[in-house]
Symmetry: C2
Subunit: 134 residues, 2 copies
């Protein structure tokens, strides 16, 4: 069922500063920021050739990453995103196995314009898992 790693997301308190670290200190290919108000974040994608890092900064009130950054003020790894061929089939299989799907269980449209779902960290070795339709 599980496909490629689409991205690793890192929540950061200062997107511009983190972008400079990845571009200048690490010498990576860093894209321009994209504001995603419907997700409460501004994102910057870093192209690593085989996959991506997604830097996330809170946007607006009630950002879903605000609490994470209160606990981790320097930033930190926030989630991993795996691709699946059929997100509804994956959701149903996961729910049947007892895993918890976050929210109302219906996919939303993610940063790449594709359906995504999030899974409860406690069911996946303490890691917030995003699934994205490949």
């Amino acid at each position: 069922m599980l496909g490629r790693l689409n991205h690793v997301a890192i929540a950061v308190p200062d997107l511009a500063a983190a972008s400079v670290v990845y571009r200048d200190t690490l010498g990576a290919k860093v894209a321009m920021p994209q504001a995603l108000p419907e997700h409460g974040v501004t994102v910057v994608f870093i192209d690593l050739g085989n996959t991506k890092v997604e830097l996330l900064e809170p946007l607006g009130e009630n950002s879903p990453i605000a609490a994470f950054l209160e606990k981790n003020p320097s930033g930190g790894m926030h989630h991993v995103c795996y691709e699946v061929d059929d997100i509804l089939a994956a959701r149903d299989r996961l729910k049947a196995s007892g895993a918890r799907v976050l929210g109302d269980g219906n996919p939303k449209i993610g940063a790449h314009g594709k359906p995504v779902l999030f899974l409860h960290p406690k069911d996946f070795a303490g890691t917030l898992v995003e699934l994205e339709q490949a």
Copy 2:
């Protein structure tokens, strides 16, 4: 400078249980455990096609992931590993930019038999970064 994402490492309190979640619940390709006593961990690699997840369980006294698991008893994302073509040139460039290299600054041999270094999380958006010679 920065090459591919070699792996995302997830520290777990119970490697067998986490392997079952990835193999059976998520349907991933999960390899056999490898004990790495010189690194204080037992590892399981999960092949995602484009990159890998590395599950880490403490091995022996003074495991370098023991403190992380005390803070995160369910487990959690521990580090990311990026490939570089020349690890000594990368280290020297990073040190010149003011970034902190952990340990004595000399590469050790990692889980893939290649030289690796770790960089201070505070210099990289709160994320522990491993560099591996490609």
